[in-house]
Symmetry: C2
Subunit: 309 residues, 2 copies
Amino acid sequence: MSLLVVGSIALDTVETPFGRAEDALGGSATFFAAAASSFGPVQVVGVIGDDFPADALGFLTERDVDLAGVESKAGESFRWSGVYSFDLSTRETLETRLGVFADFAPRIPEEFRETEWVFLGNIDPVLQIDVLEQIHRPHFVACDTMNFWIDGSRDALLQLLGRVDLLLVNDAEARQLSGDFNLARAARWIQAQGPRYVIVKKGEHGAILFTPTGTFFAPGYPLEEVFDPTGAGDAFAGGLIGYLSQVGRVDDAELRRAVVYGSAMGSFAVERFSVERFRDLTVDEIHDRVRQFLEMTSFQLPITEEVDV
Amino acid sequence: MSLLVVGSIALDTVETPFGRAEDALGGSATFFAAAASSFGPVQVVGVIGDDFPADALGFLTERDVDLAGVESKAGESFRWSGVYSFDLSTRETLETRLGVFADFAPRIPEEFRETEWVFLGNIDPVLQIDVLEQIHRPHFVACDTMNFWIDGSRDALLQLLGRVDLLLVNDAEARQLSGDFNLARAARWIQAQGPRYVIVKKGEHGAILFTPTGTFFAPGYPLEEVFDPTGAGDAFAGGLIGYLSQVGRVDDAELRRAVVYGSAMGSFAVERFSVERFRDLTVDEIHDRVRQFLEMTSFQLPITEEVDV
């Protein structure tokens, strides 16, 4: 199954209480592809400047990531720098330099247009719609967004929502988008705008999947050492949609598993700076962590009760 | 099995965006007993003033709650009043009048001293220790505490921790007590002080159980209507220990179920003001909600994977 991601490819300078990484590989498409490529091939559409380190994306290519959709343009690459608080619960953006990303107009290469699984990373919803226009007949479309677009491009965003199967947002974004502080009602509101499925990401508190028939919770993995939270949400999306594209179908049981695979990949992302953790991540480690999620959430009804679930 | 709770019995005046309750039944022992009595008899030790409405505790008596340990003293009953924010995420205390609770010195009636299951509600750790001194040989002791005691009675609290099986705290309290912002490490630190088990309550984000061998997560129940969050934590404790005392044993499987029964009772508590929801709560409703927790958290490993959990 073919899987395409459109999003940012950035150079991040990140400071956490545990160290500092300078001009490290970052961006939504990068984290997504690093995680999703554990499940199958990934096609990336993005843009980098002519200052981008020559071999920085090499490890993605080795992981069966097709970079044919990554345009290199004259100018500076997208750079973000930030500092995390001592407990990693908040971060301050020091600088955002959009560079060539400011004029990003995603062009889907001819050979990517038959792709079946699509993740629209967090970019202007007008561009996200434009990407969909270029894809022939996607089987499943997921998208991300952020407060900036919810506030500034609401009409385009609502138009986009009518065309996607799954929206991934964090809890604050779900509340902002719906105007409802209650997450269960907020998710129902979003579903009414189009997406059959909504996933609300809550960072260390886990993620909630809302489907037309039910709700599924996955906890955050209780790491004793979190090194750098950057990219966890995109790695989550990469694990989620990477898994779904591998099994090739979307139903309640597969979506639940996909959320857990996403949670696992998010938990790996934060164990090191940038996408470092994915360089040597093994399939066994992934399945192991998924088994730990099962172990962490399993309980049995009392034997005196009828079990009907 | 006999179950005893020591804690406050209060008259709460609560304002939420959905209404106001004046001098409504509140306090940790009250919420605990209201929830735990769905599982079996409960013994209460507490104090009320001579202004306490004559029949306010009548519904507890009907639920097989033994109030022989509730002293009525000359003076005013413990009163708390507070206002919740529009999204119920924060609350402001308007007034706390301790009244007769200020000099509360729990006296365990002779007929309660052989009790096997004990919950020490959130009172001065010196008094919590004093309660333990009066109980002959408890089988299982759980306790709660709060920032005020962690800060002001740290030595007594640490001494108490050496004598309890389970500490229930919220995430902020776990961090404050351990001095570690990482919850997994914070829980290990607390366990090293004595309690074999630690439960970290995270409100709408659920609860985490730490045992010597593992970790278990229960999500918050995604209510579309939350009416009044007051007492949810004590109702959680009531469901948890009420369930355990009913099955009469503490092992990994029962503790996991107990956390879910606790979560269910906490979710009922917030559906109405005060302990109102417990007045007509049925056993079927409780089991139903527990089944919904199972439904909300269940997933299967992929069939291609070996299932060894």
